[in-house]
């Protein structure tokens, strides 16, 4: 079978369309999701196929329509709530953290909240501090939520279909810069389980644990390292919760070195958590301290030369990895 290539945005759209055809309970609501198909045109065509009963434009009321998603999920639907920019999750926090995440546990297991929140992350679009953040660590902190960070069109489609079928609230973060990236995606139905990491590149000398937007950066750095004779392994956890600790630890035990990369803030962030997992689970196998590389701890600035230095790049990761490997 020849491998079909589609964009990340098309993969998301296919996953939604296939699930909506499969299950009439799946519906989408959010700002400009219908005729506009979102500002990124990810949802173009869905309202035409499924109608305005299932693809609904909402007012600019993130807390309100997220709460409606929670209630609708508890009572028989499978809503996919669209939060246009990841920065706007701040407006949904009570609904996600106090309601969606806790309804199942707090009710003694009686109510379920099978909803998906789709939103975005990532800087370098020259959008400044309120449209550029990667805040997925916040939701990863909360028991009751699952958090998905696809890094390829293939993963995006398979993970989104699984998220929609999951019985729990799942937050699905898409890198805005990735929507036009192409990759092989089978036309047939497939799913990818949550909590299973993917080794994006095998290597022997150093492990680059990378999420979402950082996976391409890690792969680019690995190519640069190869020219220096350093073999890097790239591990993509794909979900920050559930977290596939086993695959991460197996890789680090093999390579003895690790850099953890994530576009969120490093402090108290995803990189801190994964670095701690490695320290607890593979300390005696390490030849160097684990290094974290995340967004610089500043609000994302607008000015291009300033913004560009706030996120890890192939070059900065390459340099860090090279130094780490030369020390031993």
């Amino acid at each position: 079978m020849s491998e079909r290539e589609i964009t990340f945005a098309q993969a998301i759209r296919e996953a939604l369309a296939e699930e909506m055809r499969r299950d009439s309970r799946v519906c989408i609501f959010g700002e400009d999701v219908a005729e506009a198909g979102t500002p990124f045109k990810v949802l173009s065509g869905l309202v035409e196929e499924f109608g305005s009963e299932r693809v609904l434009d909402t007012p600019i009321s993130e807390a309100g329509f997220t709460g409606i998603g929670v209630g609708a999920a508890m009572t028989g639907l499978r809503p996919v709530v669209d939060i246009m920019f990841g920065d706007f999750i701040t407006l949904t926090m009570d609904q996600m953290v106090n309601q969606a995440a806790k309804a199942h546990y707090m009710s003694g297991g009686h109510w379920r909240v099978p909803m998906v929140m789709r939103t975005t992350l990532g800087a370098t679009r020259r959008s400044a501090a309120q449209h550029s953040q990667s805040l997925h660590a916040w939701f990863s902190h909360v028991p009751g939520l699952k958090v998905v960070l696809p890094s390829t069109p293939y993963d995006a489609k398979g993970l989104l279909k699984t998220a929609i079928r999951d019985e729990n609230p799942v937050v699905f973060f898409e890198d805005k810069m990735m929507y036009k990236q192409k990759g092989p995606v089978p036309a047939e139905d497939y799913t990818i389980p949550l909590g299973v990491a993917d080794v994006k590149r095998s290597g022997e000398d150093i492990t680059l644990v990378a999420t979402s937007s950082m996976v391409q950066v890690a792969l680019g750095a690995a190519s640069l390292l190869e020219k220096e004779g350093i073999s890097a392994e790239v591990v993509d956890p794909r979900t920050t919760w559930p977290l596939d600790e086993r695959t991460i630890l197996d890789s680090v035990k093999k390579t003895s070195r690790a850099i953890v990369m994530d576009e969120g803030y490093g402090r108290y962030g995803v990189t801190a958590e994964i670095a701690a997992v490695i320290a607890e689970g593979a300390f005696y196998d390490l030849d160097a301290p684990v290094k974290r590389m995340g967004a610089m701890h500043v609000p994302i600035p607008f000015s291009p030369p300033l913004e560009d230095v706030t996120v890890p790049t192939e070059e900065t990761v390459f340099e860090a990895a090279r130094q780490m490997c030369s020390k031993s």
Binding site: G67, V70, T75, L77, M106, H110
Partner: protein, 332 residues
């Protein structure tokens, strides 16, 4: 005395049964709450609870207008809503004491009782926290075409939460079968609502075009009649509504709020308890109509007392959950 006795059906046997059941339900709620206070004072209950005494006619009047399949969302002051919607007192007390037999297996407590069997989506300890959930349940009911209606109970304190206005706007745009029931007991915790509420309460719902009605929250028949009309309207696709039920909280904000004179007077409390008590008002009406005699009302009270005492006994004797339950049901 206010009264809503103009219903031509008032004399039928079914109607008599309804008004007697409403009386019994209010008495059950009152006596449930007395036991809660007792459990607190005897240090048998972990944490605190927020008593519904004085507001019984609102929960009962509304829930008598619903089917068991209809949804409610409740509040931190939610025992009355749960009972009125059909919850069993023994499992409620068990929940209040953190026991395995409780509605939430002891994991929710007083402020989180939920029960799918009676359409109770859950009490909520975030003021205004359930306005989205109730509206979402109405969205699902409309989408699935199952004819259910969602009732969103909240106190007037929740009028300060912006999300209420977001979902009322959406409910009206989408013509959802949801009724927002504002129980105005006049106190946002320890602050009189006049200090926190600009404009009018009904004006807020009216701004979105919701059918908005006031009702005497101490008059169970009036509450029932307006609720029946709004529920019927919502079920028929007429869209959302907003009910302002003026009522009074007899106790403090919670069971430990004993000294209240810095925010309200004893005379004010006494006035409501003496002249505006929903149970007394309804009892007098039942007697005036000749539906029952005083002995029958006493029997209702004594049966309810026996029921509540037995329920407390059950809950006190019930075992705590085993420790291995602590990480169960985090995920479905």
């Amino acid at each position: 005395m206010s009264s809503a006795t103009t219903n031509p059906q008032a004399g039928t046997a079914a109607q008599q049964e309804l008004w007697l059941r409403a009386y019994r339900q209010m008495v059950r709620i009152r006596l449930f709450e007395e036991q809660v206070n007792e459990l607190y004072t005897r240090a048998l209950m972990p944490g605190l609870a927020h008593l519904y005494s004085g507001e019984e006619a609102v929960a009962v009047g509304i829930c008598e207008a619903l089917t068991v399949q209809d949804y409610i969302t409740s509040t931190h002051r939610g025992h009355g809503h749960c009972l009125a919607k059909g919850a069993a007192p023994d499992r409620m007390f068990a929940e209040l004491l953190g026991k395995e037999a409780g509605y939430c297996r002891g994991k929710g407590g007083s402020m989180h009782i939920a029960d799918p069997a009676t359409g109770n989506l859950g009490a909520n300890a975030i003021v205004g926290g359930s306005v989205g959930i109730a509206t979402g349940a109405a969205f699902a009911a409309k989408r699935l075409g199952n004819g259910r209606v969602a009732i969103c109970f909240f106190g007037e304190g929740a009028l300060g939460q912006g999300s209420l206005y977001e979902v009322m706007n959406l409910a009206q745009l989408w013509k959802l079968p949801v009724i927002y029931v504002c129980e105005n007991n006049m106190y946002n915790e320890y602050t009189h609502f006049s200090e926190t509420t600009a404009g009018t309460i009904l004006g807020r719902a009216g701004a979105f075009g919701l059918e908005a009605a006031p009702v005497d929250g101490q008059d169970v028949r009036a509450v029932y009649e307006v609720a029946s009309r709004l529920v019927k309207r919502a079920r028929a696709g007429g869209g959302p509504a907003f009910l302002q039920a003026d009522t009074y909280r007899y106790s403090g904000h919670h069971v430990g709020d004993i000294n209240r004179e810095y925010y309200r007077s004893k005379q004010e409390e006494q006035h409501w308890k003496t002249d505006r008590d929903p149970i007394k008002l309804h009892a007098n009406w039942l007697l005036e109509q000749g539906y029952v005699d005083a002995g029958a009302l006493d029997r209702i009270t004594s049966e309810a007392r026996t029921e509540m005492e037995a329920a407390v006994k059950f809950a006190v004797a019930a075992p705590y959950p085993s420790i291995d339950q602590v990480d169960q049901d985090v995920y479905a």
